[in-house]
């Protein structure tokens, strides 16, 4: 039997704000435990949470970027449950009237474009962190993260394969980073993803029984966990069994999912409006102001790269996969106006060591990369030498002119200087000279190779060809 995979993702993006959602504690990552807490986020009695305006602003940005409708009246609700990382006994979230609903983004898998629905996105607070003791039956609680603003983004069950799920996740990741509303760091947990996944016979309308996957902290782990779960569910169904609806944890070390059996009970969150937080009313003026401040988004930028720089779709897709990389490319392109060559160089040389998001940390500035490529165009260095120079630039951050000068790597384009060497090579290789004169023009490669060897690759190849032709002719 053939099955169809149905996946929906729940993404939690930590918002990039200086302070928490309902109090002024810092959201900085990595501080010593329990040093960024106050009576509000510790859930002391009698405190009053007050909403950070920037959180709403970020929510509006996301809604506009994903063609979502914005609820003009927003409310916060209490989601009640007990867990040691949640000091109040409830999480302040949104239930009815989330900030954004009915949005969509386009993804592309294997050349086919597909629109994925966004059910909703809402504002809420993050919980703390638990560290479990290895020996004692206790856990340690760090509440620094408690109250960090989150945007929870829920997709429709529109995704039909692990590849589509990862493409969608990457698209949302790119959007929040372009909008600068989240730093999207999956390792540090500022961009997290849970997946609901089920299988159904091809052609069936009704959804199969789903499981929920958690603990996937990289794009690769999301892909691997979903692939594993597709296989696991398919095996159960082919054996005539029934998938158990449960929450599963991905174990990246063992490469399998693991049941949280018994650790969970049926949830009954008893949402109700939080009386401490007054409604948020978003008017047209606010929305229009935010719209006016939106940056160019990944899809638009990619289209512009294809149109303006005449780049292939593939190149444009890679270059616009992060705002930093796209900025880098455009800065270099202003100084070196050959977009395709620049794209090739970035693709093959730079992205080997730096990812689209870490490009800003690369010691080679756009200015220096453009200079290096211009030096090839001008004939100052060969393409081959350029790679040596580039390696040095990566290691030291020095500018290419200084490196070429210091290491004496400039191409030899002086006829007189090369002519002696050319004559010596001809004199030393009578056999090859005979072959050449008999019409074996391929031997030219041998002569040029010899010259390159003698000049450590610094001979200007066009000039070398010309001189051998002239001397042998």
């Amino acid at each position: 039997m053939e099955f169809e995979t149905v996946i929906g993702l729940e993404i939690h993006a930590q918002m990039k704000t200086r302070s928490k959602i309902f109090c002024g504690c810092s959201t900085e990552f990595g501080a010593p435990p329990n040093t960024q807490v106050c009576p509000v986020c510790l859930g002391m009695p009698g405190v009053l949470p007050v909403l950070n305006r920037q959180v709403v602003e970020n929510g509006i940005k996301f809604a506009l970027a994903t063609s979502s409708s914005i609820n003009r009246e927003n409310r916060f609700a209490r989601k009640n449950y007990f867990y040691p990382d949640l000091p109040k006994g409830y999480q302040i979230s949104q239930f009815e009237l989330p900030i954004a609903e009915h949005g969509a983004v386009d993804i592309e898998v294997d050349g086919a474009v597909k629109t994925v629905g966004i059910t909703r996105a809402h504002m809420e607070e993050d919980a703390g962190k638990l560290v479990h003791d290895d020996r004692e039956p206790v856990s340690y609680v760090d509440l620094n993260r408690t109250g960090t603003p989150l945007l929870e983004i829920v997709s429709e069950p529109d995704l039909r394969s692990p590849e589509e799920a990862v493409a969608y996740l990457k698209k949302i990741h790119a959007i929040v980073r372009y909008l600068d509303i989240s730093d999207g760091n999956m390792q540090e947990g500022s961009f997290r993803c849970d997946a609901n996944i089920s299988l159904r016979p091809v052609g069936a309308e009704e959804l199969g029984i789903r499981t929920e996957l958690k603990n996937m902290n990289s794009f690769r782990n999301v892909q691997l966990a979903l692939e594993f779960e597709v296989r696991r569910q398919r095996d159960i169904l082919l054996d005539g069994g029934e998938v158990v609806q449960e929450t599963l944890l991905w174990d990246p070390d063992r490469g399998c999912t693991e049941s949280m059996r018994g650790k969970e009970e049926a949830h009954d969150y008893r949402y109700f409006p939080d009386p401490d937080l007054v409604p948020v009313v978003i008017d047209d003026a606010w929305i229009e102001r935010v719209r006016g401040e939106l940056p160019e988004l990944p899809d638009a930028r990619r289209k512009r790269f294809v149109a303006d720089y005449e780049l292939p779709e593939y190149d444009a897709g890679i270059l616009t996969s992060s705002r930093e990389l796209a900025d880098y490319f455009e800065a270099a392109c202003m100084l070196y106006p050959n977009p395709k060559k620049l794209s090739n160089w970035i693709g093959t040389e730079m992205l080997r060591d730096y990812g689209p998001e870490t490009i800003a940390a690369c010691p080679v500035t756009p200015h220096n990369l453009a200079r290096l490529l211009n030096m090839i165009e001008e004939g100052t260095i060969s393409g081959k030498i350029a790679k040596t120079v580039f390696g040095e630039m990566l290691a030291t951050g020095a500018d290419p002119d200084a490196i070429v000068k210091e290491k004496d790597l400039a191409q030899v384009s002086d006829e007189g200087e090369l002519l002696n060497a050319v004559r010596e090579i001809i004199a030393a290789n009578p056999e090859q000279v005979r072959q050449f004169r008999e019409g074996k023009t391929k031997v030219m490669g041998f002569f040029v190779g010899q010259l390159m060897k003698q000049t450590k690759g610094q001979a200007n190849p066009q000039l070398a060809n010309k001189l051998f032709q002239q001397e042998l002719g």
Binding site: R18, N34, V37, V138
Partner: protein, 95 residues
Amino acid sequence: MKITKEEVAQVARLARLELRPEEVARITSQLDAILGYVAKLDELDTQGVATTTHSRDIANAFRDDEVSQSLDHDRALTNAPLQKGEYFVVPRIIT
């Protein structure tokens, strides 16, 4: 009856309260009386009236995104029944 013993037991469980059977019986009848009293409101015709969540008609109480002083680490932990180093300590819930 506005509420059953089973519902009371369920609410108690969600609130992590341990009730003896006689307490369940007593609280059920007390809650039943309270809910019966509140149910008087059902007699009002509220069709076309929006749900009220806040008693005062205000909206948009915001703070600017600025960092303010957090509590001293020691003070943050003062009320904790159990603490170790920089952490609150709780019974382990995941085995």
